[in-house]
Amino acid sequence: MNDVKEFVKKLFKNNNINVPAARVEIFDQFLQDEQNAATINIIIQNQNRLMAKWRLQDRIAEIMGQSVRILNASVGKSYEAKFDFDKFGWKDITAYEFAGLQEAGLRYDAKTKQITGNPTQSGDIKISFRFKLEGQTEDSSFNEKIITLIINPDPKSLWKNLESDKNDPHWKEDDVTVFARIGDRHILASSKRGRSHANVGSFREDDFAFKDLENGWSIVVVGDGAGSAKNSRKGSAIACNGMVDYFMEGSSVERLQAFDELLHRFQENRGEETQKQINQFVYNHLGKAAFQVHKKLEEFAANEGLHLKDLSTTLIFTLYKKYDSGYAFLSFGVGDCPMAVLNSDLSEVVLLNWIDVGEFGGGTRFITMPEIFKNEKFATRFGFKLLEDFSYLILMSDGIYDPKFVVEANLPNIKKWQDFLSDLSGKNEDKAQVELKKDNKDITTQFSRWMDFWSAGNHDDRTLAIVF
C-alpha cells in the first residue's frame, strides 16, 4: 500500500500536484477507491511493459554493435572456430539461426559451440546470425546481425604457370631433368623454374652443368641467379658452363695432373706439410677457376652493355676423382647452396662448403661480387676431402635447401640427410618416389615429379644434382 502511495505521490509531484497535510485523509481514500486502484495498477503495468521493451531494444542494439571476430578460414583447409555465446555474453539468447554458413561449406555445432567445415569459396563472406532474446515473444521476428568471415583462397589455386618468353636472347628451358653416366657413377640432375617465376612468366634463373674431364676427374656445378638481377639466368648459365670449360682447357688438365703426385705424397705421409701443399693446390687452382669465371662474366657484361651485377649468381662446384685408395673431392662455393657427400653406409655426412646467409631472409653472396676475392674468408671457400667410398654426392640450390633443410644447423646432421633420402624415396605428402638406381627407366620422370613438391612460401627455382 505504501509503495502505491509513494508511486502516486511521485506521479503527482512530477505534474506539480502536491498533497498538503490537510488532504492526506482524502488522498488515502482516493487511493483505496476500487476504480482508482485499478487505474494505478494499469499505469504501473504499462510502465513496466514500456521499460522492458526499451531494455530489449537497448540490448539488441548492444549485441548488434558488439564486435564479433571469428578466426579466418582458408579454402581447402578444414575449419574449426569457437563461436561461444557465453563468451560473447549472450546468455539471454533464446533462439537463433545462421544463414550463409552452409553456402560457404560450414555449419554451426551447438554442442561443441563451434563453426566447422571445409570452406569451398574464398572472399569476405557475410554470415547472417539471427537471434531472439529473452522477453521477445515467439512470434516476434528474428534480429539479424551480420558477421564477416574471411575465407582465404587456397594459394595453390592462385599460382599461375605462364610460359617464359622463348624469343628472349637469354631464354632457357623452364624445366630440365637429366640422367647420365658420370665417371664410374651416375648423375641425376634437375633444374626447375620456381612458382614465383612461373606466376609472372619470368625465367628460370638456376642452372647446372656436369662433365667427365680428362684423367678420371668429373665436375658438377650449380649456380643460382639472383632474382633481382635482370640477366641472372644468363649469369648462372655462363658461370656453370664456364667452370666446366675452364677445366677442359689443356692448361687446367695439365695442372690437375699434378694433384695425383700431391695426393700420393699426402697418403704416404699425412702430415701438416702435405696437407698444406694440397690446400695450397686447391686454393690456387680452383681459386683461379673461380676468378676466370668471374672475369668471363665481367667480359660478357661489358660486351652486352650490362652491369656485372645484372648477372649476379651464386656458384658451387665439386671436382672428384677415384683413386685406388678412395675418392678425392675438391670444392669451391659462393652463395647459399650446399654441397655434401654421404659415406657408403649413410652414417656420416661431409659438407664440402659453408653457405653464405645474411642476417635477414634472402641475403647471400654472388660470384659476380669482386669483393669475394679480396675477402679474408676467400681461402675458407675451398674444400678438400678424401673418402674411402661414398653413396651420394649432392649439390643443391637454396630452392631445395630452404624447404628441405631450412637452417644451417641441420646441414651437419646426418639424420636430416637420411630424412632427405627417405623423402626422395617416397616418404612425402605426394608419395612422389624416386628410385635412385642406375637401371631405373623412369628415373627422370620420377625425379621431375618429386621436384614439384609443395612447400608453402618456398617457390624459388629448384636445382638438385645427385651423383650415386
Partner: protein
Amino acid sequence: MISSLRQNPQAIETAFISIITFDSVAKQVVPLTDLASFQMVDIKATGTTCLGDALKVVSTCIDNEVAKTTADQKGDWKPLVFIMTDGIPTDDWQSGLEEFKKRKTAYTVACAAGSGADSNLLKQITENVVSLDTADSQSIAKFFSWVSASIGVTSTKVEDAGKEVTGLGELPPPPSELNIVT
C-alpha cells in the same frame, strides 16, 4: 587493400602485417600477424601526432617480431614500413628517428596525407615520400591499394633477390592521386 593482397599467392604464403597507430600515444594495435589470419581493426584519426613515439614503437616491434637468421633459425625478410600521417609531429620526433634509423628495413615509404602534413619533414625519415592533396577516404583508399600492390611486388623481389628494393622506381607506378615528393 587486404582482400586484394590475399589474392597474391606469394603474399598470402609469406607476408605478415602489423599496424601501429599514433595520436597522443603510439601503440601497436595489431601485432605482426600472417596475412591469412590478419583481421583489420577500425582506426580513427584523433588527437595529436606523436610520430617520434611511433618510430620508437616500430623499432621495438622490429626488434621483437622480425627474426634474424641464425644457425638454428630462419631469418625473416627485411620489413617494409609504410608511414601515413595527416599532421605535424607534436613530440620529439628526431629521437624516434634516431632509433628507427638503427633498424634495417627493405624500404620505408612515408605518405603525407592532406595539407596538414609536412612532406619535407618526412623526407628526413625516408627518401621515399609521397603525398596526397586531400586526406579524404577515396584518396587514402588509393594509397592503400598501391601499398598492397607494392607489398605484392616486393615480397616476390625480396624473396628471390637476396637484395632489397630500395627506391620507388622499383615499385608499381603510384596512382594519379599520389604525388611523389622529390
